[in-house]
C-alpha cells in the first residue's frame, strides 16, 4: 500500500474505511474518515480493499510575490522549525515553499519587496562550516544586489551560524538577520509570524552586522535584535530562548516601531567576504575529575581548542600539565562555563598557571563564538591569530560588563 491510498479494513471484528498512512513490521497507521489516525498491531487488522488512486499532496509552486515596496528583503530558508511545515496527514515536516502568506500578517508590509529562496532544508544541528560558507556567499550575492537578508534557520545552532557570518563578513552593505521559531509555523500559536515581522522591520535599519531576531519574552509583543556574536540560546523551549549575554540587545521591535537600545556598526559600502574556515577547532567542557588521557584525546590533534573552564576560567592541575605539553602545537583559549561574566586568569594561582601554560583568556567572549572566531581567523589570518583572537572585531568582546 502507498501512503494516501483509500482502504477498507477490519479491526477486531469491526469494519472501517480510511486512508493508509504507514506501516512497519509491527504496526499500521490509518487515518479514519473522522480525521483521527489510529495505530494498530498488524495482527489485529485485516485489509479488505485498497483503492488505487493515491491522494497526493500537491507541491505548490512559489507564488509570484508582488513587489510594491521600496526596501528589498531577501529571505533565505535553510530549514529548521521556522522554514518547515507539517504534512497534515503524516505528520512529516517539509520546507515551506510559499511565503506569500506572510503578507497578511506583517505591519507596513507595503514598504518591502520580499524575495524568497529555499537554500537548504537542514536541521540546524547538522549545519557545518560548509553550510556557513554557502549561506554567506548567497547573502553576499543578494546584498550586492541591494537586498537586506533574512535567514530562516533552526534555533539550535543559530548562534553559531550568526557568529560565523559575522566574522566572515568584514564589511556589509545590509543587515543580515537570522530568525527562527521555537514553535513550528504550522500551528496558530507559532512565534514564527511575529519573529518574521520583526525581522522584516529590522532589515530596513542601517545595521551593518549579522544579527538574530527572536521574541523578547513569552508574550507576542516584542522582538529583540541580538548581535550574532553575543547571542546565546538560553532555554530549550521558550519563545524568548535567545539572550544577548552581558549586554543590551541592539534594538526592540514592537507593533511597527523599532527602539534602539545599544550602539551598532553601520552598514558599509562594500560586501567583503572572507569565506575560508578552518574546521579543526573544538570546544571542551571541563568538569571536576576530568582525566588527563581524556583531555589529551579530545585535543591533541586540534589546531585550537576553546576550553569551557570553571568560574573565572579554571581547570584542574592535571589538565594544566597536559596543556603545557601540548601548547606548542595546539592553541588553547579559555572561556567560562558560567556563561555570564568574563574570565580572568590573574586572580587565582590556577589562572596564573594557565597563563604560564600559554592559555589565552578571552574575557567575556562566548565559547561558541570563540570557536567560530578561531575557525575564521586561523583560516584567514593565521599570522596574527592569537592577537586577533584577543581583539574585539565584531562586538564579540565587551570591554565593560555592566550587570
Amino acid at each position: 500500500m502507498l501512503t494516501g491510498q483509500k482502504i477498507e479494513f477490519s479491526y477486531k471484528d469491526n469494519d472501517y474505511n480510511g486512508i493508509f498512512i504507514s506501516s512497519d513490521n509491527e504496526k499500521t497507521t490509518i487515518k479514519l474518515d473522522n480525521g483521527y489516525n489510529i495505530t494498530v498491531k498488524n495482527e489485529d487488522i485485516k485489509i479488505k480493499n485498497v483503492y488505487g488512486n493515491i491522494q497526493k499532496n500537491k507541491d505548490i509552486q512559489m507564488k509570484n510575490v508582488e513587489k510594491h515596496g521600496k526596501n528589498n528583503v531577501y529571505i533565505l530558508t535553510t530549514g529548521g522549525t521556522i522554514g518547515s511545515s507539517i504534512d497534515y496527514e503524516t505528520g512529516a515536516v517539509k520546507p515551506v515553499k510559499d511565503i506569500s502568506y506572510l503578507y497578511n500578517y506583517v505591519n507596513n508590509i507595503d514598504d518591502y519587496n520580499l524575495f524568497h529562496e529555499n537554500m537548504d532544508n537542514i536541521l540546524s544541528e547538522n549545519v557545518d562550516s560548509k553550510k556557513w560558507i554557502n549561506f554567506a556567499r548567497k547573502a553576499k550575492e543578494k546584498m550586492d544586489n541591494n537586498s537586506s537578508i533574512i535567514i530562516f534557520h533552526g534555533t539550535d545552532t543559530m548562534q553559531y551560524s550568526a557568529a560565523a557570518l559575522s566574522f566572515m563578513f568584514e564589511d556589509q552593505t545590509n543587515p543580515i538577520i537570522f530568525t527562527g521559531s521555537q514553535r513550528s509555523s504550522d500551528r496558530p500559536s507559532s512565534d514564527a509570524f511575529l519573529n518574521i515581522e520583526g525581522s522584516i522591520h529590522f532589515s530596513s535599519m542601517d545595521v551593518g552586522e549579522v544579527c538574530i531576531a527572536m521574541h523578547s519574552d513569552t508574550s507576542d509583543n516584542n522582538i529583540s535584535l541580538h548581535r550574532g556574536v553575543r547571542a546565546r540560546k538560553m532555554h530549550t523551549s521558550k519563545r524568548d530562548a535567545f539572550r544577548t549575554i552581558d549586554n543590551s540587545e541592539i534594538a526592540i521591535y514592537n507593533n511597527g516601531k523599532i527602539k534602539i537600545n545599544a550602539g551598532y556598526k553601520k552598514t558599509g559600502k562594500n560586501n567583503i567576504l572572507n569565506d575560508k574556515l578552518n574546521d579543526n577547532i573544538s570546544i571542551v567542557y571541563f568538569y571536576p575529575g576530568m582525566r588527563e588521557e581524556d583531555f589529551y584525546n579530545m585535543v591533541y590533534n586540534k589546531y585550537a581548542v576553546i576550553i569551557m573552564g570553571t568560574g573565572l576560567g579554571h581547570v584542574s592541575e592535571n589538565i594544566i600539565k597536559v596543556i603545557k605539553k601540548l601548547s606548542r602545537d595546539v592553541y588553547f583559549f579559555m572561556a567560562s562555563q558560567c556563561i555570564y561574566g568574563g574570565v580572568n586568569l590573574n586572580v587565582y594561582s590556577t589562572g596564573r598557571e594557565l597563563l604560564k601554560a600559554n592559555v589565552i583568556p578571552l574575557y567575556d567572549m562566548l565559547a561558541e563564538t570563540a570557536m567560530v572566531k578561531a575557525m575564521y581567523l586561523s583560516a584567514n589570518y593565521s599570522d596574527n591569530f592569537v592577537n586577533l583572537m584577543k581583539t574585539n572585531l565584531r562586538g564579540e568582546i565587551n570591554n565593560r560588563i555592566l550587570w
Partner: protein, 595 residues
C-alpha cells in the same frame, strides 16, 4: 430524526500532558498572545478560522498555580498521563468498545484562543461500543482522550482573557452514533452514559465537569450543537432545532419558487448624517459606515410569526464581530425616522416583497460579510443546514461556524505513540465502571438498602463514596443516612461543604472510639460549626470516649444504686455521662462486674 450525543467529562489528578495538578489558583503572571490562521497545504483557510482572524483579537492568559510551560505553549507536551489513559480505557471497556493497540494523539485546530497552542490534542482510545437503553442499544462510535481548553474569563471585540487553570485537564469524549430516536431517548442515553462517567473514581465532579454536544439531523444535514450544559436542555435544544429547521424548510420552499438574491451593499451613511438614532450616531462617530442591501422576496420572512430568517443572517454578522444587523421586518424601529427609511428604500429600489438589511461596520468588512451572507442564504434555500451551532443558556441554539472538516486534524508529532500493553489493560479492567442496574442491585441486595436509599445514592452519584466509606465504617444504613441526609442538611444549615476526606477521617475516629451514628452526627456538626482540626474532636468532652476505667466507675455506681439489667444498662449509662462510649464495651464490662 437522528440524534447523536458527544459527552465530555473531566478527570481530576494530573493534567493530560504535564505534571500540573487539575486544581489550582490564579497567579499574577499574565501573558499575551496572538493567533495566526494557519492555512492548509491547499492554501485554503477554514472559515471559522477566518472569522477569528478578522476579529484579530489579543488573547490574554492568566497563569495559575497549576500551569507550567506546557500550558503556556512554551514547552512540548510530556508523555500522556497514565491514570487518565487508564480511566479512558476502563470507560471504553465499560461501554464495550474495541481498544486501540496504540494511542496516537492528533492536533485539532482551534483558533478562538481557548488553546494556547492553537489546537487541542486528542486521541482515540476506544471504538465501536454500545450502551443499553430502553429503546435498544445506542452505538458508541469513538471514545477519545483529549485536553480541556482554557477557561474563558471575559471577552470583548479586542481581546479574550482566559485562565490557564483548566487548560490541559484530561477530558474523555464519548461519541454515540446517531442511533437516538427522539428527545426522551437522548435524555435517557445521556443519563446512562453520565452515570458510568460519574462513577469513575477520578471523575472531577466540579461545576461544568460534564458538557454535552448534540448531533442532530432531520434530513437537512447534520447540525452539531456545542455545549449543552444541563441534561434537561437536551430536550429543549432538540425541540428548538426541530422548529427552526421546519420553519426554514417553509422559507426555503417559498424562496425556491419566488427566487431570492442579495444585492450588493450600498454605503448609505449620508442618509443618516443628522439621524436621531443614537445607535447609528454612535457607530458613525466611531468610524463605521452604514450599509444596506436588498434581499428579494423575504418581506415577512425575516421576523414574522414562525419565520426567523433575519436571525440566521444576523448570526453570520455577529460571528464577524458585527453586532446589531437590522432588517425591514423590524422597521420602523431603532430610532430611524420614516424619512430616512424612505430614503433607504428608494435608494435600494425596495420592492413590496423585498427585505432590506442594514449593518453598521467598517468598510473593509463589508465584502467579506456579503460573501458569507450569500453563501448562508444559498445553503438555507437549498436546505443544506449542516453546520456547527452553539447551545445558548436558555435551550436555544445559534450559528457558530461551518462543520469542521477532517483537515482540521493532523498528527501531534510531539507526543510519541503510546502502546497499550497487557499490563495497562489489566489495570484498566480493575476499574471498569458498573452500570446503574448493577449498582442498584448491589445496593438493594448486598447492602440491604431500601429502593429510596439506593435511588438517592445513584442519582446523587454517591455510590463510589458509599463503597469507600463502608470499608471504614461497615454500617450501610448509617452511611446512607450520612450521605443522603445528615451531610446535605449540615451543608445547607451552615453553608458549608464537608469534603469526603474529612468524612473519612471522622469515620476512622468513630470506628476506633466506638462512636454510634449520633456521635458521628454530633462530631460532624461540631466540625462544621467550629472548623477545628479533626484530630481535636476526640479530645472534646461531648465526644470524648470513656476508657475502661471510666466505664467501670459509672457501672459500679449504677449497680450500687439501682436495679440495672443488661437491657436498661445503656439508657441508664447514658444519663450518667455526656461523653461518648462504646456500647458493646459497656455491656461487656457490665457483665463482668455483675458476675
Amino acid at each position: 430524526m437522528k440524534i447523536g450525543l458527544e459527552i465530555h467529562f473531566q478527570l481530576k489528578g494530573s493534567k493530560l500532558f504535564c505534571s500540573c495538578d487539575t486544581e489550582g489558583e490564579k497567579t499574577d503572571f499574565v501573558i499575551e498572545r496572538k493567533m495566526t490562521p494557519v492555512m492548509s497545504e491547499m492554501g485554503e483557510m477554514d472559515s471559522a478560522v477566518k472569522y477569528e482572524y478578522i476579529r484579530n483579537r489579543k488573547f490574554i492568559y492568566h497563569t495559575s498555580t497549576n500551569s507550567c510551560l506546557v500550558e503556556k505553549d512554551d514547552e512540548p507536551p510530556h508523555n500522556v498521563d497514565y491514570n487518565a489513559l487508564k480511566t479512558a480505557i476502563a470507560l471504553s471497556m465499560g461501554l464495550h468498545c474495541k481498544i486501540v493497540d496504540y494511542v496516537s494523539f492528533m492536533r485539532k485546530l482551534v483558533i478562538d484562543g481557548s488553546n494556547t497552542s492553537g489546537f487541542q490534542r486528542t486521541g482515540i482510545i476506544g471504538m465501536n461500543g454500545y450502551i443499553k437503553t430502553s429503546k435498544g442499544n445506542v452505538n458508541i462510535s469513538t471514545i477519545t482522550l483529549e485536553e480541556d481548553a482554557a477557561r474563558k474569563i471575559m471577552e470583548n471585540e479586542e481581546k479574550a482573557e482566559y485562565s490557564l487553570d483548566r487548560l490541559g485537564i484530561p477530558l474523555i469524549e464519548i461519541s454515540t452514533e446517531p442511533d437516538i430516536i427522539n428527545q426522551e431517548h437522548a435524555l435517557e442515553t445521556a443519563k446512562a452514559i453520565g452515570y458510568l462517567v460519574m462513577s469513575m473514581d477520578n471523575f472531577r465532579g466540579e461545576v461544568d465537569s460534564i458538557r454535552q454536544d448534540v448531533n442532530f439531523s432531520m434530513g437537512y444535514g447534520r447540525v452539531e450543537i456545542k455545549g449543552v450544559s444541563k441534561l434537561s436542555f437536551i430536550r429543549d435544544t432538540v425541540n428548538y432545532e426541530i422548529n427552526r429547521q421546519e420553519s426554514l424548510n417553509e422559507i426555503s420552499r417559498i424562496l425556491k419558487i419566488k427566487g431570492c438574491e442579495i444585492s450588493n451593499f450600498s454605503d448609505i451613511t449620508d442618509i443618516f448624517k443628522n439621524t436621531e438614532s443614537s445607535m447609528i450616531k454612535k457607530a458613525i462617530k466611531s468610524g463605521k459606515s452604514v450599509f444596506a442591501a436588498r434581499i428579494t422576496n423575504v418581506n415577512h420572512l425575516m421576523k414574522y410569526n414562525n419565520y426567523h430568517l433575519g436571525k440566521e443572517l444576523a448570526d453570520v454578522a455577529k460571528n464577524m464581530g458585527i453586532g446589531g444587523m437590522m432588517h425591514s421586518d423590524e422597521f420602523p424601529g431603532y430610532g430611524i425616522s420614516d424619512k430616512e427609511l424612505n430614503n433607504v428604500y428608494n435608494l435600494l429600489i425596495k420592492g413590496e416583497n423585498d427585505g432590506i438589511i442594514i449593518v453598521l461596520t467598517y468598510k473593509n468588512n463589508i465584502d467579506q460579510l456579503l460573501s458569507l451572507l450569500r453563501s448562508r442564504l444559498n445553503k438555507i434555500i437549498n436546505m443544506d443546514l449542516a453546520e456547527t451551532r452553539a447551545a445558548t443558556g436558555n435551550g436555544e441554539t445559534r450559528y457558530l461556524r461551518p462543520l469542521p472538516g477532517k483537515e482540521r486534524m493532523y498528527p501531534e508529532t510531539d507526543v510519541p505513540l503510546f502502546e497499550i500493553n497487557g499490563n495497562l489493560l489489566n489495570e484498566a479492567r480493575e476499574i471498569i465502571p458498573e452500570t446503574m442496574e448493577e449498582v442498584n442491585s448491589k445496593l438493594n441486595n448486598e447492602y440491604k438498602l431500601s429502593n429510596i436509599e439506593s435511588d438517592g445514592i445513584i442519582n446523587n452519584n454517591l455510590y463510589n463514596t458509599f463503597v469507600k466509606l463502608i470499608k471504614i465504617y461497615n454500617e450501610p444504613r448509617t452511611i446512607s443516612r450520612l450521605l443522603l441526609q445528615t451531610i446535605p442538611e449540615l451543608n445547607k444549615k451552615y453553608n458549608s461543604k464537608i469534603g469526603n476526606e474529612d468524612i473519612i477521617k471522622i469515620l476512622n475516629i468513630a470506628k476506633n472510639a466506638g462512636w454510634d451514628r449520633s456521635n458521628i452526627e454530633k462530631a460532624l456538626e461540631i466540625f462544621t460549626v467550629k472548623k477545628i482540626n479533626i484530630n481535636e474532636l476526640i479530645k472534646m468532652d461531648e465526644l470524648k470516649s470513656l476508657n475502661d476505667d471510666e466505664i467501670k466507675k459509672i457501672i459500679a455506681k449504677l449497680i450500687n444504686n439501682n436495679s440495672i439489667t443488661e437491657k436498661n444498662i445503656i439508657p441508664s449509662f447514658k444519663k450518667e455521662t455526656n461523653s461518648t462510649f462504646n456500647a458493646k464495651k459497656v455491656i461487656e464490662i457490665y457483665k463482668k462486674l455483675k458476675n
